[in-house]
Amino acid sequence: MTARILTARMDEYPTDSNSLERYRETGGYVALEKALGTMKPDEVKETVKASNIRGRGGANFPTGVKWGFLPPTKPRYLVINGDESEPGTFKDRQLLERDPHQLVEGIILSAFALEVHHAFIYIRGEYPKPARRVQRAIDEAYEAGYLGTDILGSGFDLDITVHLGGGAYICGEETALLNSLEGRRGEPRIKPPFPAVAGLYARPTIVNNVETLSDIPWIVANGGPAYAAIGPETSAGTRLFSVSGHVNKPGNYELVMGMTWHDLIFDICGGIRDDNELKCWIPGGASAPWFVPDLHLETPLTIDDVGKNGSMLGSGAVIVMDETTNVVAAAHRIVRFFAHESCGQCTPCREGTTWMEQILWRILNGHGRPTDLDLLLDVSDNISPGLRWPPAQTTICPLGPSAVSPIRSIMTHFRDEVESMVAASAELADEEGVAVG
């Protein structure tokens, strides 16, 4: 089932969906006029709460509940997380680049609801074009009276600042993002205090994902219940899935949740390339435990069903792998990413992710040892005790445990493949008469 909340405009007008003119012509800023003209901030807040929308950044936390955590103190800030950096995730880019006014309107509505007068959009440094598009949209919005002082004569003031990141994945973690925005090292903060209480410049701050706020204009225009009515009860609305890997039709898909993985991979994405066998897939970003066809093809794509099956829908990044995939290489590639992106403050993540990357690299290069399998699992356990889901952690933020997911996944589903690689190493060593390791 398809629905078009976020992507209808860009699909219909591929060349100028980002322009103010086109946006207005297709219903843009109507919700804003409605809200500023006829609603009180609390009514907007209630509308969002009633929509049951859950955050699209990866944690899937109900947005209305998060907004409710704000204490009454002012000033307070709204920060939009556009630091989309997880391998396989490319949905926000499309929203930033091709429908920036939808986001800007969502920000203005949210800021109005939250009584915020300064919002910050943090965009990953590798997204210069999306950042330019957003900045242009903001400039146009100022010009048109949607931003600045006394917006549409309502007395409500709002400024939006665009900030480009410096190229660190960890700045997608909301407190690291706030540090980075403040000019500090991009390192996650210890919680509590949570950003809602002490966030940007130690003021109450709401951090929301680009996609989440891009949904807000539709929600305000059509009402919370209309949104809540779309899809399964606890996975309301549509969301963007970034499907990549060995499918015939990779890309971003705006979908109503509730279909099965089979539907997504074989119907919507056209099946596996070269008619190969599906081997496994990552259901929700590089930090999510992997799914395999035997167990999970019929699992519905809802936040809860995926969660019950030991993984997560996360940011909606689906990476599909076919039978030709060397899972050790795939796991290594992901672990290397996390090791590279570790901020370095917590010992287990800083040292552990690099160590695991080194062990996997050794196995891949024919120097595996039989003890490496248990070593990998035990090092993983020292980062994420109990190797359970959702993960426990010896670290401040979940980046370290994220590197554990691929290792746990290959050890759970493909241990025989890892063992045979190690055995091959031993044979090689025997032939060469050298000790391995």
């Binding site: 992106e341 800083r350 080194q358 390791g437």
Partner: protein
Amino acid sequence: MAEQPEAVTITIDGVAHEVPAGQLVIAAAQAKGTYVPRFCWHPRMKPVGMCRMCLVEIDTPRGKMLTTSCTTPVADGMAIDTESEVVQKAQEGILEFLLINHPLDCPVCDRGGECPLQDQTVAYGPGESRFVEEKRHYEKPIEISDLVLLDRERCILCARCTRFSDEISGDPLIEFKDRGSHTQVITVPGEPFVSYFSGNTVQICPVGALTAKPYRFRARPWDLEAVESVSPVDSFGSKVSVQSSQNEIVRINGIDNDATNQSWLSDKDRFSFQYLQSAERVTEPLIRDGDGFRTASWGEALELVSEQLSALIGTEIAGLGGARNTNEEVFAFQKFLRTEIVTPHLDAQLDDGLDHELMAGISPRATVNDLEKARTVLLWAGDLKEELPVLYLRVRRAATALGAKLIVVHPRATGLDDVAALKITYKPGEGPDVLRKLAAGAVGEGDFHAARQLLDDGPVVVLCGRTGLTEDPRLAEAVAAFAATLPDATVMPVVRRGNVFGAIDMGMAPTLLPGRVPTTNAAGRTAVENRWGPIPEGIGYDAAGILEALVAGELKALAMLGVDPVRDFPRPRLARAALEAAEFVVAFDLFLSHSSRLADVVLPVAGFAEVEGTVTNLEGRVQKVNRLTPRPGQARPVWSVLEDLARRMGGELGALSAEALSKEIAAVAPAYRGVTWDLLDWGEGREGVVVPLAEGEQVLAYEPVDAGLRATTSRLTLHLGRVLYDDGMMTRMSPAIAGLMPDARVYLHPRDAGSLAAGSGQTAEVAGDEGTVTLEVGIDPTLAVGTVYVPFNLPATADLGVSDAVKITPLRTEGEA
């Protein structure tokens, strides 16, 4: 009254405890006898929860959670498990992670044997390593300053050093760079870790990543002998651990005395011990022989001194010094002067401090810990970063972590300006006007109104001293008098030299008898005379009077105890003339200083860590100093030399030991009643005691008066300010820091430099009343217009001396128009 935090009940490993609400779990557990291992947590810095070593399990509504105990405050009913299987596995895991890239070069590491990483590995770590990959490598060690070296392979990235320099000392010159397993501590290119506090980072480094040049490879920790003592460098009284190997001090570390240094030291406290080992120490008695000296036996030297002094006994002899000695030594010295020489002319200061009675009798007198609860701090004194660096740290803490509003009044930028709520810059000489405007809360002129409002918001701590040597000391009295009019203020007199407060308390002042008794107090005088016999009547000369009287021939002889007036007296020409005019000068000294060089007899005496005794800091806190190392050559303790001398002169001091003197002090000096070595060594006085104790008595009732000083104006006014690394013996004779003396320059405001046509780097002649020096010109826009700043007591500035006005003549090189 400090508010007591309410108590909550927590359970640690199944045992219930009452602990103060809000305390961190790690601290609460330690207070109750459960040590939770840690690397990054330091009780004097904000927690960061980075190393993850202090993980414990805490019961939550969602089950047991592994949590860092250094970031979690206790809550009522909290159940904490510090030794569950999960916790132990995590601890072992963290240590394995820390060790995989650690070089394990413990046999050649300074930290080996006293290393938290070693110790916690023994207690909580894995038995063997499973790491077979290549370890991380960096170039090492790298010099990050003149004193500190960094080994990034040993570093476990706990951020103690970076946090210290940012949070505590306010010179954030070391930071992390890169990320993940490439994270490293580093300095900014081209900006070395130049800090007066760099040694603290070495002390708090939990591994051997940061090492200090003076100690590197000098000793193994298990071979060290150590005593607790008090830093001799300044009057703050920082508590230290003095450590020696093979009878030489090799290291000084800070001890956490909550009342004073809270574990921190300045680099001068830490590294200046080298002067004690200098080959320049005087190790044998010296007797003048033409232009130089010849060595002599103690017998010959003392016989000569005894003869010379006996011939002049009475009011023709004076004594100077004692501000760098123990209370016991200076007590013996003034007793010798008053009872054997029978002179009223004695002074521990050199006209470079404050009024003796203010220093001994200001009331209500602030303690350092008053800064902890102050809402406002008024600093009208020298630049604390240069003069009393650890007090600077405490004021900085008050103004940052504790939220006090700091007002700084000074002629130029100071180290605390960046944390000051208000800064008032003024031209020296105009202080009386500044004070008047401040007291009036003058509106419309600068920040006086705002400052006055802050000062009415107590508790207030007023730190008053001389901003520089050209400042009239009576201005500080006027500031103290103003403080007395504030609703809730305490006052701390700020004078920096070693034990100067102790020396004055011991009666080494023309106006004071031992124990803060005015010389003019009849009852006090009688009490002393009942024990000692008659002492001279009236108030004698202070240092300036003594030196002038020597030049005038009114005084004939001088005894100097560890004092260098030629360098430290603000009028060097007068000091030199006085020493040259004197018929006989005896110096008790460690070195041939600019002054003792002019003496007739130089007696080698024991220095820091070579004697036991007590000292008193600027809040009146008495602390114990201890003996660790042997005295070089024939050097003797001051008191024993004085006793010997007294007996040769037919008298007796009763100075049979330093401890015997301490008992006499407690008996004679009312403010020191009840102060015993036992109390300071073993009793409740281990953090020192502020005198007078309950059984003591403050006889001196000092009321500061505003003498109604008139502002003086001249076009160019001199500001002679002190710098930490000056040309004093401690710095000059300590190779590690001798090279850190700043360049001597004459600093001008850009506007003055413009009107004088003097450019930066050009040389200029600076002519004052006392002397003329030639210095390079520096431009300093932080100066008040019309102020000429010259650092005091550097080799190139020493001859300038004080004067109100100076004349600047830029020197032009040939060929210049």
